[in-house]
């Protein structure tokens, strides 16, 4: 299969979906030159720097028969538009009794690792997961990025599509025909017996690298990528933990009230999975600080392979301890 990078895969999805359905249009403060040349400046619009307005515009146009794709730029910038997501997008269908659908996709980049400091290095998915009413996508490969963006655009609900910055230039095989990846289906990226590692976005790759490394020691790591956080394919995760008895969740958001917290809660509150747990579940997350600018500090703030390895070893020791 041909290989392209994460951004190219997303661009292909945009082009194909705009070709497929003329009700799809896109708004952003940043020019998408290729797309604009293909579809014109009516369907590929530059907006003033007015996130509240163009986030609400997505909702109003979606409620009026269109399928807008709104690009916020960095997730950072969407917080000036938060009301339109918290009080409108996540509630509008339910509080109106389901009388209308709102097929709008909100895209944005997330994550640290490139020395752009506190405001521009955020991964706040869990703040949106907490709001019942939004679908939330977080791909880790070019193929998933393309297939999931297509599904997001075709979905009849507000979807937030998170794009991890450190994955932008990552290359991988992507089918060139029209392949969608369904929302709500996790993927076991590597099978294993001893410990279940749930990684998110960039940390799926890092977890796979760690799994490879630990295999040489005879430690068998199963790596799961949820791919979408809402709906969350909890059964795949629980099944894996019932098999391995051990869980490590790796993400670059701070741990408190994070997707990692939720995954641990979902695993431990299920009686069968709880009984299968041989060790305390582990979170490998960002330090509880705004991401600092200086390289050594930023590195210390974010998860890395050594810390994933440590957590896995803790989970394995925990096994003995908990006998």
């Amino acid at each position: 299969m041909r290989e392209i990078n994460f951004l190219q895969a997303l661009d292909e999805a945009m082009i194909e979906e705009m070709q497929r359905d003329e009700r799809v249009f896109t708004l952003a403060t940043r020019r998408a030159v290729a797309l604009e040349q293909k579809f014109g400046d009516q369907r590929v619009r530059i907006t003033p720097i007015s996130e509240s307005a163009f986030t609400g515009i997505g909702l109003g146009a979606a409620g009026s028969g269109f399928r807008p794709v709104i690009h916020w730029g960095m997730v950072t910038f969407m917080f000036v538009a938060m009301d339109q997501i918290v009080n409108q997008a996540s509630k509008i269908r339910y509080m109106f009794g389901g009388q209308a659908d709102f097929p709008v996709t909100y895209r944005c980049t997330t994550g640290g690792g490139s020395q752009v400091a506190a405001q521009h290095s955020q991964s706040p998915y869990s703040m949106f997961m907490h709001l019942a009413g939004l679908k939330i996508v977080l791909p880790s490969t070019p193929a998933d990025a393309k297939g999931l963006l297509k599904s997001a655009i075709r979905d009849n609900n507000p979807v937030i599509f998170f794009e991890c910055s450190r994955l932008a230039s990552v290359v991988g095989p992507v089918p060139d025909d029209d392949v969608t990846v369904p929302l709500g289906v996790a993927e076991i990226k590597r099978e294993g017996r001893d410990v279940t590692v749930v990684g998110l976005a960039y940390y799926v790759r890092e977890s796979l690298a760690v799994a490879e490394q630990l295999a040489t020691e005879g430690i068998s790591v199963e790596v799961i990528d949820p791919r979408t956080l809402v709906p969350l394919d909890v059964e795949t995760i629980r099944t894996s933990v019932r098999k391995t008895g051990r869980l490590v969740v790796v993400d670059e958001a701070p741990a408190t009230c994070s997707a990692a917290s939720e995954i641990i809660a979902l695993v431990t509150e299920d009686p069968d999975t709880f009984r299968a747990l041989k060790a305390p579940p582990q979170r490998v997350c960002a330090a509880p600080v705004p991401v600092p600018f200086s390289p050594p500090l930023e590195q210390a703030a974010l998860p890395d392979r050594p810390r994933i390895v440590e957590a896995i070893r803790r989970a394995l020791d925990g096994a003995h301890a908990s006998v």
Binding site: F25, Q42, R43, R45, T47, P48, S50, S52, A53, F54, T55, G56, I57, G58, L59, G60, A61, A62, G63, S64, G65, F66, P68, D83, Q84, N87, Q88, I92, R93, Y94, M95, F96, G97, G98, Q99, A100, D101, F102, P103, A132, G133, K135, N156, N157
Partner: protein
Amino acid sequence: MTPSKPDLVEMLRKMILIREFDLLAIELRKARRVHGALHPYVGEEAVAVGVCSVLKTTDRITSTHRGHGHCIAKGADINRMMAELFGRVDGYCKGKGGSMHIADFSIGMLGANGIVGAGLPIACGAALAAQLEGAGGVTACFFGDGATGEGEFHESLNIASVWKLPLLFVCENNQWGADNAVESVRVVQDIAAHANAYGIPGVTVDGNDVSAVREASETAVERARRGEGPTLLHCKTFRWLFHAMRDVPPPETRDPKVLESWKSPARDAIARHEGDLTGRGILTAADTQAMRERVKRDLETAVDFAEASPYPDPKDLLVDMFAE
């Protein structure tokens, strides 16, 4: 275009219906028969009715927390509105929304909204949809004087002007934002003055003169349908009653003289339009009497409809969350 006699009569009927609907809702709320918070539109009827009288069913509007008048003016069914206040399954939102979230997308009423200012961007989106459809549709968004303090007021005016969206910004200046007089939250009292900085028309009208509101709206709507962009319409009116009530209406704290003058027949939008129609011989006193009785009967029917409708079944709690 001067409105037809039937139009003029229908405008009067709708204003009376809006007023009676809200007065009845207050009584029902006091009696604990309906629930939640109520924001009566009494005194401001000419704004919603004047604007909506020049809109088609396919045109769209966004509303506010004070939305009953906008619903009725746009043509909503009072039975289903009443059922919503009662929290019943035949309500517009199946009882999930209540007074602050009534919507009827089938007639282009995109919803009341509990967030001050939040309807403006949504209206821009509906107007963008109309622009992309290219069928000459327009959108009107209603918002209060208090909402002019919110950033979304400015962002929406700017984007709408840049994209020449077919949109009416209708500011209902009822002189108060909750407990705060408009003079205490802005320096310049002519809200239409904002329009200049966006290069769009800004028009101030007597919001208690339904014909003046209609005329100004017509000009703005025609402009929008021609693709020439949005208009900011500043309608000066007054809130007769309290800002909001829960179990009991809060005490009136505003100057009684001012209230009186606004409620006087000389300023009351309904009295003025009624006087106009009877004066011009379009209606007799008997006609308007009959009209009022008809409205009362329709409202009784609405209450019966609502009470005959069952409460939602708790096992449907999760229904309507996500579309297929």
